[in-house]
């Protein structure tokens, strides 16, 4: 049964950031993680956008999934769970469009820095991943837990991309063997970061 206490929710939130970090434990959302982590400011902007989209779409999709799609849902009694993927992606796509408009209006610099990766949030697997994991029947998440899980996952992604951006800045002055330069060293560092995050095991767990 879901644990509705504040501690239970806090545990989910922390676990989503640290021990079950969506990027470092499931390696979801790697594409934009590698492409946008060159500069700390853009990485932070991307992380915030991903967090915002993850949180909002998870809450929205939670309502749609349990309100419409599942068997005996209040709005539609028929089992429509086979539409889950389609519906989740539609909501995410719509939401990304919205975020794009907001960013273009309020931060043109960020808009141009994110470039093609802004619309690509639509197919950022971290977001779809969170949306699918929250409805995992084994987890029994309620709305509050879903919100905490989604917010935590988004912030976890933000944390890892910012860490990576900081590391990459230092890498510019490092003497890296030629075959490992570029993508190679980034993937190795991501692996090391993932192992480091294992150290949080026991702090909180889903």
């Amino acid at each position: 049964m879901p644990d509705f206490s504040i501690t239970g929710v806090a545990v989910i939130f922390l676990a989503a950031i640290l021990t079950n970090n969506i990027l470092l434990s499931k390696f979801l959302g790697m594409c934009s993680f590698i492409a946008i982590s060159r500069n700390l400011r853009t990485a932070f902007g991307m992380g915030i956008s991903v967090t915002f989209v993850t949180f909002c779409t998870a809450v929205l999709n939670y309502g749609i999934y349990y309100g419409v799609l599942v068997r005996d849902a209040p709005l539609c009694a028929v089992d429509l769970t086979y539409l889950t993927f389609l519906v989740l992606i539609m909501v995410i796509a719509g939401f990304v469009q919205l975020v794009e408009m907001v960013i273009e209006r309020f931060s043109p610099l960020l808009y141009y820095n994110l470039g093609i990766f802004l619309p690509l949030i639509t197919v950022n697997c971290a977001i779809l991943g969170v949306n699918l994991l929250m409805i995992d029947p084994d987890r029994h998440f309620g709305l509050v837990q879903t919100a905490a899980y989604a917010l935590g996952s988004g912030l976890g992604w933000l944390l890892s991309i910012c860490l990576m951006a900081g590391l990459r800045r230092r890498l510019e002055h490092a003497d890296i063997p030629r075959p490992l330069q570029g993508l190679g060293i980034i993937l190795i560092i991501t692996g090391l970061m993932a192992m480091a995050f294992m150290g949080f095991a026991g702090v909180a767990d889903l």
Partner: protein, 361 residues
């Protein structure tokens, strides 16, 4: 039954998302009227949200933009003294440090979102909008068309050889313009000629290849800052690739009209024999201009066994025929690789960069 529910649920969801986006678009993309002040003139009001380039175009202030506002030519520089926001990464390759310090921006990248204060080069106010009618057109090569435009309003255009115009291309979206060099000499003020190569999927070239005789079109111009050295002692070297021949034709025919004894050389490179254009015309000019030499070269001669002339890339011909030194002015027009290779050759020939003018496309 399930299917009906499925369709219903998906369409309802899609519908409500679209409505949400439409509402957001209405409120977020609407910047309202914005006031633009140019060079201490009377300010004017435009609807926000469009690019500065298009906003000025609507006010009949024509800023040069060879790429048509795509951010690739870097010609549309204006000083945005107030309200332009931060310099965007798309502009950085085109701006020097001094220009950034002077608030210079690319008009095609700046969006009008609030009141703007601008400083624009006074010469730009001389650029006019013209209406013209197509009076003749013919194919020079399988993919290149020559178009003759007779001016309707204003009836005359004053330009330097090698300048270009921007043709308005009808489109459903925002205003679209494409730049083309004038290939006729400036002496003929009532009509101009263009040389247009069809680029598959290209908006401007598709349009100009489809216009028919007697059809009207609108363009602005003249643009371009290359100035021909009027001293007849200065030798003129023209190096062109493909339809880069257009401004060279204008230059050479101008020389023929004003000082036919001036030393002048044309290097023209194309791929195949089908792409060769204006050869007879230049041969005829060469017979009447004692100091004019022309060199045509094919870069892919193996498909053209009947070709008797030079082969190889055009910069190799320049390296072979041009001797070092002397007073010269050089004009280059062609693809970026050709320009790059030719510039290296010219450096070896001791021609200083301030005597070299080039246009990449």
């Amino acid at each position: 039954m399930t299917y009906i529910y499925a369709i219903l649920v998906l369409s309802l969801l899609g519908g409500s998302l679209s409505v949400l986006l439409l509402i957001a678009d209405r409120f977020l993309a609407d910047y309202g009227p914005c006031r633009i002040t140019v060079n201490e003139r009377e300010p004017f009001i435009v609807d926000g949200g469009c690019t500065l380039l298009n906003a000025l175009y609507e006010q009949r202030i024509f800023i040069p933009s060879a790429c048509g506002g795509q951010g690739t030519c870097g010609f549309c520089k204006v000083d945005v003294l107030d309200g332009g926001g931060p310099v965007l990464p798309t502009e950085l390759p085109f701006l020097s440090k001094a220009e950034i310090a002077a608030d210079t921006r690319l008009a095609c990248q700046v969006k009008v979102k609030q009141a703007l204060v601008l400083r624009i080069h006074p010469d730009y106010f001389n650029i006019q909008q013209f209406r013209a009618v197509v009076t003749a057109a013919k194919m020079l090569t399988p993919d290149t068309r020559e178009i003759l435009l007779e001016l309707i309003e204003p009836q005359e255009i004053v330009f330097h050889p090698s300048q270009y115009i921007q043709v308005e291309v009808p489109s459903t979206d925002e205003l679209t313009v494409r730049a083309y060099s004038i290939s006729s000499p400036p002496g003929r003020k009532i009509e101009i000629e263009l040389v247009v190569r069809l680029i598959p999927g290209g908006l401007g070239s598709t349009y100009l290849h489809s216009v028919e005789i007697d059809q009207e079109l609108t363009f602005t111009g003249p643009y371009g800052e290359f100035v021909l050295d009027d001293d007849v002692e200065t030798e003129l070297i023209c190096v062109a690739g493909g339809c880069g021949i257009a401004p060279m034709r204008s230059l050479i025919r101008h020389i023929y009209e004003v000082s036919p004894h001036r030393k002048c050389r044309l290097f023209f490179g194309v791929r195949k024999i089908e792409d060769v254009m204006y050869m007879e015309e230049f041969q005829q000019l060469a017979s009447q201009m004692p100091n004019f030499q022309m060199h045509y070269a094919l870069s892919e001669p193996k498909h053209s066994p009947q070709w008797k002339g030079e082969t190889g890339f055009i910069h190799q011909s320049v390296a072979k025929h041009l001797e070092a030194g002397g007073r010269r002015q050089v004009f280059l027009c062609g693809p970026p690789l050709m320009i790059e290779a030719t510039l290296k050759v010219l450096d070896k020939k001791e021609i200083s960069r301030d005597q070299i003018f080039y246009d990449e496309f």
